[in-house]
Amino acid sequence: MTLTAGASRLYRKNLVLTLLCGLWVALALTLLIGQPSILSGATLTSILQFATLLALVSLGQALVVLAGGAGIDLSVGGNVSLSAIAGVMALQAGVPAVLLPVVCLLCGFLLGAVNGLLIAKLKIYPLIVTLGTFYAYSGLALSLTGGAAQSGVPAWVLPWGRGVLGDIPLPFLTLVIPAFLIAALLLSFTSWGRWIYAMGFNEHSARLVGIPVDRARILLYSLCGMLAGGAGFVSLSWLGSGRPNAGVNLELESLTAALLGGVAIFGGKGGVAGVFAAVLLLVTLKTSMLQFGINTVWQVGVVGLLLIAVLLADRLSKTRS
């Protein structure tokens, strides 16, 4: 088989992946020609630092979408903000500082479990549930703090949150990479992972063969919430304060990353490696927009356009086959 035949087969098989590679190449070329100075270790560090939050949230989002049942979690951004705020407020209320990560993760887990219970037990449409919790969580984060950043993050987390090993930020190295590795292993090599694909591919059959679909779904939404809580903790240790707007726009960006990474919107197809690549692409895109002096308000528009483009491309590749 020649290389071109292989490439064209890959193109036909997965238009989205091709689009992703194309975008990467285009972006790299633009950077090389327009701003060669951007290609430095410091830029890599800052890109990976921004990518840490998005990567954790996108991983959860990808798992939820993958499991099907019109799965979607619009509340992740609100969850990140509220978990971060909850962590700081717990410390202010006298919880020992050592427990900060536990509080954030637990809060995220519980907020995700609320989504999961409403969706799997009460059978309410995920879109509506998470839209409601999105406003409830982000509204709570704002109203509990009055919109002001909360100080009181213990000093011991800052060296971790801002530290680097080589040019790679520590949170990225110690949280994101293990999380993606574990997720990839779980999805490919455990029955639990195969259940997720099965219920995303055909929920009815999954139930018939005895997969505990509801339990798995509740756990997935909780896991997605816990990853958002982890992102909240990272935001604390990186920014040094609890900001009620830490998770703004993350729902849009994580959904874009998940779909850009090849997860099918109706579930059952995709993997976490693509999501990882898509996160890096998105953050690189945003960072280079900044480097070219484009106002940050354009970022949300570009992400939105990308989301639409990727879905249209996916649709196109389906009609062709």
Binding site: V129, T133, Y135, G139, L142
Partner: protein, 333 residues
Amino acid sequence: MATSFTPALKFSGRELTLACVCLVAIVIFSLASPYFATLDNLTTVLRNSTELLLIGLGMTLLLAMGGVDVSVGVVMGLAAIVIGQLLNAGVSPGLTALSGPLVGAVIGVISALVVVVGRIPAIVGTLGLYGVYRTAVFALLGGQWLSGLPDSLTQLVSAPLLGLPITVWVIALAYGLVWLALRRTPYGLHLLAIGNSEDKARLSGIAVTRVRFATFIISGLLCGLAATFYVGTYRNVEMTIGSQLALEAIAAVVLGGTGIMGGHCSLLGTVLGVFLLRILQNGLLLIGVPSLWQTVVTGGLLLLVLTAEVLSGRLRIHNMNLRKNRLKGEGTA
């Protein structure tokens, strides 16, 4: 799960419950705050409901069709910017007022092209469009508010007609037209059929694409109309315009009993849902709850109602099964 054809304007149990809840809220807030039950304040509540009533009407159609649009608030914002700039340019208020719905309808066409023709799930498609429109609002405003607009449009929309402000007539006309379209034209039947099952609707020969396309345009048009009243009333356009409207519209419509999975709708329910939301927001503000809590209340209310609905539905089915079993027991005895 949805009933096949619920009359769009029948006073059913849901509307009655909602009306009672509105009344109870009014009574409680009147007792709690001396300022609530004043004519001034109640007029304000009605006034604040204008945009949500119009946008909620479009959202009712979308949800009944099994669709959704989370970009409605920003669409209103875009139309409001055009209106504001026309006003600043000295265009006559009549033409300016019409430009709102026109711009809204044009944006509706764009949304429909993406969601309907591009066949992207409505929620994801409109979420993407939300980002694009939001950036467009920022870019068009160029970082500063449109404020202190001429009051020619204000005079037009607040002019009394037969003793009531023109706003009231326009809203009544919009609801009347939509009601007629739902009850007296094939459009309504087709819309609800698509909401029930798009595949079956397609198989039975309904022009699904055309109906869905039209509904997105109608919703856009209503958002534009809302923009006309928004600019007419406040005479400014701020950066964050309409950021809460999508959630509020969905919450009001779901509160009103329109099924979120499509297939049936209630216009009266939407009106009552909007009023309940606005009464709660106004009343809570008056008894001293900071306005930052409004999103929490709206989101919480939406979840609460849905939960209650599902649980009460389960209870009903459970009771039905019990009765059936009892009858069966008697039959065999």
